[in-house]
Amino acid sequence: MIFNWGYSLMQLYSKRLVNIALFELVRLFLTKRGLLAVAVFSICWLIVLRYAIGEAVNLLSSPDFAGFIDQIFGAIGLSKLLTWPEAELAVYWLIALYSFPSFCLFLCADQTVGDRQRGTLRFLSLRATRAEIIFGRYLGQLLILIALLSITLVATLAMLSYREPSLFVAASSHSLILLGYLVVAVMPYIALMGFINTFSRSARLAFIVAILFFAGGKITVGLLTWQFPALEVLNYVFPGYQLADMAAQDAGLMLAVGLPLIQTIILLIAAERIFARSSL
């Protein structure tokens, strides 16, 4: 097993991997279907920016509601966010942290399964190793998510600078840190979809399996933990376990970065191993 995996990695060729990843970027930004998806995404985020973030900032900045907001945010453990001078970024952080992982399950539902069903992978596998296909597709989806996160973050920054131009410099560096954390947060979700793609029969089924994994899995672990509290450790299996702590700015580096990276690596290795053995 270890020998086989080592051999697969030895055959990885970075140029082919990057070519496969860039092809995925082209799929989103240069095909009609991809552009339509970007347009829908942009409209949704415009609504979020205008009505959710814009209105929330007005509320947060209002001295009339200060006491009430303090109580609410304190009760749900988010009081640290109120100390941010960039109120737009605080609201963005909350929305993006919870919405992007869910969006990711939908966006990355078809990494290899569609091409496998159509037979297109057969053309590809004569020119790239299966490890390159899995990792290249993963990298492509990650680049897409980075691009979309960057677009929303830039739009939030623009909104913030319009309200308070003096915050721009501080907010820009803060945004980069947030982008880094958000990218790491979505990484295991993309890897999970890549993993499910290796045995799923369609993108829709992959999405359903992912939902069942989270819903059914968490109920099962909850029941097991109720009987055997030591099994609480099983929660670390689920991508996003750290999100609540990250939202409240209470997550240490190991939880915010280490856990999702470990989950990503394990899921990618599992995906590559299954894909290497499956029929195309």
Binding site: Q11, Y13, K15, R16, N19, I20, F23, V26, R27, T31, R33, G34, D115, R118, G119, T120, R122, F123, L124, S125, L126, R127, A128, T129, R130, R277, S279, L280
Partner: protein, 302 residues
């Protein structure tokens, strides 16, 4: 002669179903090789094994001293897998350029190469079209084009001419014939006469078992065959042919077609046969020097 492919005791099961049983063969560099057999005989399974899409249950398969699917075979082995389709989201030139880039060509060189292979299959005017905008035959030709990118040494074509109109099927046959000096083609088709024209070595699969034939079998050194196809039915043909000097056996292989087995001698048997046709007033359509592939396979089965 250089051995390109060597299969030793290859067996493949899909669950409990036996698809290939203890298959052994060697393919050398040179003339196209045909893979024939009825539906479900295991042809596509064998192609899939050679391409590395599926793995043998037992036995060993070597392609230019590598396991199928190995990165060292990229660009050296190409294929037209049966029923595989290009991505409907991109133009065919975009996809072929991408494949050429994966084979190591620069972007500009890859685009040139894609244009070249699309021109070879007569799709120069459709390079910017997406697969769904093309007819079935054009899509097939586009997938044949992807198999010709670069300079492959082995090209596997599974039912390459199925679904093509006669003109384009003929063009593809001519293309294979022209390119067979540069690459060794392995073809599967149900059109036996097509394979007979193109191929030397014939691999016949039936119920997962493999036998080898040559395109036009001439039997042993002193046992020869000719296949005579007449224009219409005539009386006592078998009896008259059997009376010719040197004839050992006459078999009515199918309607108006006779396989004549004869003993080699100093006299030219084909001349004697044509004279007989002339004397009897028989019109003939075709005289084949040997036993046709169709008859070889048919006789083996029945």
């Amino acid at each position: 002669m250089r051995t390109l492919i060597k299969a030793q005791s290859v067996t493949k099961y899909f669950g409990s179903k036996l698809a290939l049983s203890n298959v052994n063969f060697e393919i050398n560099k040179g003339a196209p090789v045909a893979l024939v057999g009825p539906n479900g005989a295991g042809k596509t399974t064998l192609f899939s094994l050679l391409c590395g899409y599926v793995f043998p249950s037992s036995g060993e398969l070597n392609i230019m001293h590598q396991q199928p699917g190995n990165a060292h075979l990229f660009g050296k082995l190409s294929a037209l897998p049966q029923d595989a389709q290009l991505d409907p989201g991109f133009s065919i030139i975009h996809q072929l350029t991408f494949y050429a880039q994966l084979q190591g060509l620069t972007k500009s060189r890859a685009k040139q190469e894609s244009n070249r292979v699309l021109e070879l299959v007569g799709l120069s005017d459709a390079v910017d079209q997406r697969p769904n905008d093309l007819s079935h035959g054009m899509r097939k030709r586009a997938t044949i084009a992807q198999a010709l990118i670069g300079a492959p040494q082995i090209v596997l074509l599974d039912e390459a001419t199925a679904g093509l109109d006669p003109v384009h099927a003929r063009e593809i046959r001519e293309l294979i014939s022209t390119l067979s000096n540069e690459a060794t083609f392995i073809l599967s088709s149900h059109d036996l006469s097509e394979l007979e024209r193109l191929c030397g070595q014939i691999l016949h699969l039936d119920q997962g078992k493999l036998t080898e034939h040559s395109a036009l079998s001439q039997g042993t050194s002193n046992q020869c065959f000719v296949t005579l196809r007449l224009a219409q039915k005539y009386e006592d043909v078998e009896k008259i042919l059997f009376a010719l000097a040197g004839v050992r056996n006459v078999h009515n292989s199918q309607a108006k077609e006779y396989v004549i087995e004869y003993e080699k001698s100093g006299e030219a048997f084909d001349i004697q046969l044509l004279q007989c046709c002339h004397q009897q007033g028989w019109q003939y359509q075709q005289l084949v020097n040997g036993n046709t592939l169709e008859n070889q396979i048919f006789h083996k089965q029945h």
